[in-house]
């Protein structure tokens, strides 16, 4: 990847962030937070995207961003009030902008019609009267409209416009003829390069000379250098041997980029170089627009405003701005300015595109995966070693045992560090969702607002990537099936705008994603009747509310009367359930009629290592995740109370918890030994429900490496994964929640095998 490509990649990465900022800002505005800072942030995001896009010559993106930016500028200066309707329009515009960015990146296409109508809408918002652009434009507006006028006066002293101009473009006293301008653009279109040269002090110190570089460039073709001396300190503070000035050179040549690069061969490293094809116009125009907006400086406006009244010209000659540079000798954007001028106040920030690999290292994820695998092996190996040492009966205080302890600490630290490399905030997935909500809401004619929580919750990257689909599906479902139409909501005395809440949080070593809506809740009667009609359950079966709610996860279940193109798609929540299970996760639903439903999705935090308690059950070794265990105890006979024909509860302090024999639940044995003979692990499920798991013996606490059962075998109810113990044996890791819920459904087992099979 050459340097430019690398910078481009960085640009697109920045775009992602900027788009997220943009969206965040607009959402804040939607919430009534339309103070100057927010509006400014929104404006800056669009402006930065435009600036960067201009540097890479991404014309459609620049054009759209420009219109967008113009409107935002008007909002910023309170010319256009930020009404809720406008913010909605802006949000849609941000979606189109995102499409343009993706398209520029080569991912998907922009719907030109949508983009054009959006642009028209934005323009209409900017200036409802469609009067010619404000401020300093009029002169050239006319000139553009009537290109006969010669000598369109750009009567601005060089001194006025130039001093603080970071990007080094300038406007100078000169006479432009529009004809010339057009001719110039036409002639220049093909073979124009923009070379940005930023010499470092070393360049001069090594007796190289910018003048020579410029001369060499001039040998390739006609050049026009624009000097930016804005960094030049006052004379008295000037280091006579340091480099301050930078140049932007417009070069017309038939040579290729390599030829240009060769000119700088000898100053490699002593000079920052940027070579782009085409004029450096777009950013200039962008900045000019900004300048025009920021300060009433008449200088930059002419060229830019010509965009608006004469869009045809823009289309025909997509680079209308080069004229000032092209048509006349160039004036330095230099410092010799006496007093600060209006333009001086309009300092524009330069779009800093950091070079690759400076503060962040980009690593192929495969390497990290390999590292994680290795750490897993290391953990296993260390456990084996510890076991061997234990077998030899070496005293815990011996050097060997202590060394082993240290090794264990180190292993653990390495492992934490490696996991931290992969941990990322779920934000990257969450930030795509507002758009989805908007689109689904508009498709279904509902009003929905997305509230997000816990975006900074960190999750293993491998998990994050696979979260997007289930979340998308759940959100679609919440809006399409959960929320009522605005009319229904009004009738029910609710706010016509429904709220969908998306939250991420950590709970007992797992990540929980919740999608909550304040809609009508699950219509249990209908769910039940559909399930019966589709033959998924038998009609006489009595189900609890919770069980009915969970019916929607059955394969082939779809409550929508007709399949909508939003969430129907012929598949149901069973697909979500399956993809969540593939991640070792679970999904559950709670619903209250009239108040909405909550889908709760829980996933293991990492897919690699866990702390567990190794226990013995009916001769099998099992690992119970430590995070779930509250305490372990040996029950006394008086604490165990029978409940029902087979069940029993355990009195723990002031409450009773169900006793679950793991061996029985998992099918290791047919009858339970008395609980008093075993050990009880008091565990807490994700929903906070407690249970007492009965095991035969406890072996101790171990750190185990998770080996997925799903990947290597298949999903097994009640078992989360497998692991390899220190002695090389395979042990199953217990899925505590599943065991609890298995036990709950035990009584109907003989009656209704279908439901269990489907679960």
């Amino acid at each position: 990847m050459d340097e430019l490509e690398a910078i481009k990649v960085t640009f697109f990465q920045e775009c992602e962030e900027l788009l997220a900022d943009l969206e965040g800002g607009l959402l804040a505005m939607q919430d009534g937070n339309d103070d100057g800072d927010t509006v400014n942030a929104v404006f800056r995001a669009v402006h930065s995207i435009k600036g960067g896009a201009g540097a890479f010559g991404l014309e459609p993106l620049v054009r759209f961003a420009h219109v967008f930016e113009t409107l935002l500028d008007a909002v910023r200066s309170n010319e256009v009030p930020a009404t809720p309707d406008l913010v909605v329009t802006l949000l849609r515009a941000s979606d189109v902008l995102a499409d343009h960015v993706s398209s520029a990146r080569g991912l998907g296409d922009v719907d030109e019609a949508v983009s054009a109508s959006m642009a028209a809408e934005l323009k209409a918002c900017t200036d409802p009267n469609a009067a010619p652009a404000p401020a300093a434009a009029p002169v050239v507006v006319e000139a553009a409209a009537a290109p006969v006028i010669e000598a369109a006066p750009a009567l601005i002293g060089a001194d006025d416009a130039l001093d603080d101009d970071d990007l080094g473009f300038d406007f100078q006293p000169m006479t432009i003829t529009i004809d010339e301008q057009a001719a110039d653009v036409a002639a220049a279109a093909g073979n124009v390069w923009t070379v940005s040269i930023r010499p470092k002090s070393d360049l001069y110190r090594k007796a190289n000379e910018t003048a020579l570089l410029l001369r060499e460039l001039a040998r390739l073709g006609p050049i026009q250098a624009t000097l930016d001396a804005s960094a030049l300190p006052p004379l008295e503070f000037l280091d006579a041997e340091a480099a301050y000035a930078t140049w932007t050179v417009r070069l017309e040549t038939d040579e290729d980029e390599n030829a240009i690069r060769e000119v700088f061969e000898f100053v490699d490293g002593d000079c920052d170089l940027e070579i782009t094809r085409g004029e450096a116009v777009a950013p200039d125009a962008a900045l000019a627009a900004l300048l025009a907006g920021d300060a009433p400086a008449p200088a930059p406006a002419p060229v830019v405003e010509a965009f608006e009244p004469a869009p045809v010209v823009v289309e025909a000659a997509p680079e209308p701005a080069p004229a000032p540079v092209a048509a006349a000798p160039v004036v330095a954007a230099s410092a010799p300015v006496a007093a600060p001028t209006p333009a001086a106040a309009a300092k524009t920030q330069q779009i800093e595109v950091p070079g690759p690999g400076q503060s962040v290292i980009r690593v192929d994820p495969e390497r990290i995966d390999r590292l994680i695998d290795l750490v897993g092996e290391l953990v296993i190996n260390q456990a084996m070693l510890a076991q061997r040492v234990g077998e030899y009966g070496i005293a815990p205080s011996s050097n060997l045992a202590m060394g082993l302890d240290e090794l264990e600490q180190l292993t653990r630290e390495i492992q934490d560090s490696v996991m931290a490399i992969r941990a990322q905030p779920v934000k990257s997935v969450f930030q795509r969702m507002p758009r989805l909500v908007r689109e689904v809401a508009s498709m279904t004619g509902k009003q929905a607002r997305l509230v997000m929580d816990g975006e900074n919750t960190e999750v293993d990257k491998t998990v994050i990537e696979r979260l997007a689909d289930p979340i998308t599906h759940m959100l679609r479902n919440a809006i399409d099936h959960g929320l009522e139409s605005p009319e229904e909501r009004k009738a029910a005395g609710k706010n016509p705008e429904g709220v969908v809440r998306l939250a991420a949080l950590h709970r007992s070593g797992r990540i929980v994603i919740e999608v909550q809506d304040d809609g009508k809740g699950i219509n249990r009667e209908r769910v039940h009747s559909i399930a019966v009609k589709k033959g998924l359950i038998s009609p006489e079966l009595q189900l609890t509310d919770e069980e009915i709610d969970n019916l929607i996860f059955l394969p082939g279940f779809s409550t929508a009367d007709k399949i909508s193109d939003v969430s129907g798609r012929g598949v149901g929540m069973d697909v979500v359930k399956r993809s969540v299970q593939a991640l070792g996760g679970r999904i559950s639903i709670t619903s209250r009629p009239g108040q909405g439903s909550t889908f709760s999705l829980s996933l293991p935090l990492t897919l690699a290592v866990l702390d567990g308690m190794v226990v013995d059950v009916a001769g099998e070794t099992l690992v119970v995740p430590l995070a779930a265990i509250v305490e372990s105890l040996r029950p006394k006979p008086e604490e165990v109370r029978p409940l029902g024909p087979v069940g029993a509860v355990l009195a723990v302090r002031d409450s009773f918890v169900p006793l679950i024999d793991v061996g029985l639940t998992l099918g290791y044995r047919d009858s339970s030994p008395p609980p008093t003979e075993g050990v009880v692990l008091l565990v807490e499920g994700e929903d906070g429900s407690r249970a007492a798991l009965v095991a035969d013996a406890i072996h101790g606490q171990r750190q185990v490496v998770i080996k997925s059962l799903e990947q290597n075998y298949q999903q097994v109810d009640g078992v989360a994964a497998a692991t390899i113990l220190g002695d090389g044996r395979v042990a199953l890791i217990l899925d505590v929640d599943a065991v609890i819920s298995l036990r709950r459904r035990e009584p109907p087992r003989p009656v209704e095998p279908t439901l269990i099979a489907a679960e």
Binding site: P199, E209, L232, L235, A243, V249, S334
Partner: protein
């Protein structure tokens, strides 16, 4: 009116002395003799630009007199003619 005559060679080595020469003459109107200049480098260009700014800030006149062809040509190459040369020279030359 003080006059500063520029040397032939305005390269790396000349930039320090050039700056010092300007600082010495600060405070009054200045005419810079550029007729002898045969080479102008980026560093000296910076000094000239900074000097011109300084003089402008002082409200004193600063002019470059009878620049040599090389001086004008290099200044233009640098894209600095508008900033450095008076309008008539730069107008005439272009």
């Amino acid at each position: 009116m003080t006059v500063l005559s520029l040397p032939e060679n305005l390269d790396l080595k000349a930039s320090g002395p050039l700056k010092a020469a300007f600082l010495e003459r600060r405070g009054g109107a200045l005419e810079v003799e550029a007729g002898n200049v045969r080479r102008l480098g980026g560093l000296c260009l910076q000094v000239l630009l900074a000097a011109k700014t300084a003089w402008a800030a002082d409200g004193k006149s600063f002019s470059i007199r009878a620049p040599s062809e090389a001086f004008v040509e290099t200044t233009r190459l640098f894209g600095a003619e508008g900033a450095l040369l008076s309008a008539d020279i730069h107008g005439v030359q272009s």
